[in-house]
Amino acid sequence: MDKSSHRRTGTGKSSGLSDPSVKRRGWVTADFFTHSYRVSGAVDVRRLPLADQLNDRTTSYLLLEDAYVSPIDRPGDITASYAIAALRKENVTMVVLVEKEDGMSKKESYGSYFGTSLRSVFITVPQFEMRGFLRVVGKFDLHALLATGTDRFMPLLEGTTFASFNTDFQFNGGMILVNKDAVGTMCVEEVE
């Protein structure tokens, strides 16, 4: 990651006083997990949603502002903080977002002409296991989901993830973006 002595500001980014939820408009704050760290930071999504930035294969890095780093075995402790950081996307195993809408790609926000269904899934990635729901369009093909397509990150709705080495370390999100390349096991519940 890039160290910077820049003054940390929300320069030119107004939250909008009419926003009742006191949220920084145009920016999404999320928890990014690598194999060894939890990095909390804000991503500028005015140009492109976070999911699309992560899935953009033309860039290898994701830029964050106000990054706070915690080791994975002490995820509540902040051991480092920097104004600007760059995360190597292939090293990100998952991204936890509180609000589902913050993790939707442009194409998902448009909706679909085809019927969608939700499938309950269980996924393991290094150091974590998670449960949630996948939104499936049409017929569900587990192999196709994991092995085909250009999107590196798949969205898990209403996700809960636990550290496999300490179940007290639990993270919940309206959306968890999971790096398919990090998936070790993926189990799908049968539809009755």
Partner: protein, 406 residues
Amino acid sequence: MAKILVIDDNTDLLRMMRLILQDRGGHEVVLSADGADGLSRALTSPPDLAIIDVMMPGITGYDIVRRLREQPQTADIPILILTARGQMIDRQTALQAGANDHMAKPAAPQELLDKVDELLALVIKEADPSVSKAKVVSLLSLRGGVGVTTLAVNLALNGVRALQAEPPRSNGQSGEEADLDKDSPQALRQQFEQSSGQSQAKRDVCLVDLSPSSGQAALHLRVKAQRTWAALPGLGSDLSPDALIDLLTPHSSGLQLLAAPFEPIYANTLSAILVDGALSGLKSCFNLVVIDVPPLVDVVAAAALDSSDHIILVLTPEVGAIQSTVAVLQVMDEVKDKVMLVLNHVSPQPGVPGAAIAKALRRPITLSIPYDPAQAAALPYGKPLAWFQPSSPLAAALGHLLKTME
């Protein structure tokens, strides 16, 4: 109106906080966009309440909280951590750092104002000399059948009686039928809510049944628990008193029960963080919390014992119970000062003499509860002795124990 200090490096958020807290809430607001500056202001002119962000350059909110708690002039001010880091582990970290509560951003204005009011009320309650701080008492044994649940239920009811100072009810009253209406969850909740704003609030007792399954406390009290601690994981980071109160089952005595689930499938859903968070919330709205700790040495039991002011280790006068007590005392060395040994006679046979037990355990027996034949009928009829026969030997002994813990 209170003086509230807000420390956050986001200047837009600070402007919003002034609108919410000052214009809407009527409080005096002091804003600081720098952690070090905010800390200095708090130490120089302590506010009535501080709202602190975590993620700030130079110094984190957790460090600010720790520094404030070190100084006598700010050691007791209520502190709310308001942060985008809203996971359970973050709440735990905030509470461990010394904050009173934790809220995740974005926070709805009314939610924030309610939380501020709640924390300010805490200050008033703590400043009132007639209001005592919540006491937490855990009861456990590694051996089943020694009467832990019986004693927990009766101790809790003794607590209710002591706090309400009402005359004892007699057995088999015709008023039992009238109790049916008063026993309804709706009526009792209304009574609880009405009393919570008055001096009666300081009398409330909560019994927590942490059994992994088929908890017996509800059976002792003859109440049907609609919700249990199995719902705790679903609350996520919202372990506010309001959310916890919704999980409680009322008893006609006024005792509130956080019951254990009947099915044995939720045992692994509890974590130390959840237990710790739930007990913190319950402590804020009850004067006495009695915990029936399961017969296991695990993270859940450890969290309950860590939160306790007193730990009652229950044993019966038989070799097996003595052996398991020796074992549990060895692992509880760090909290041994909180431990009281209670010898519970569950049968008319005298068993191993108390003096011999004390010698074997190298600890005095705090209380020896005599065999009470009335207890045999209490459970089948759902009439705990401490409430329905307060002069019985078991109830009287526990009443005496409760007094020693004051």
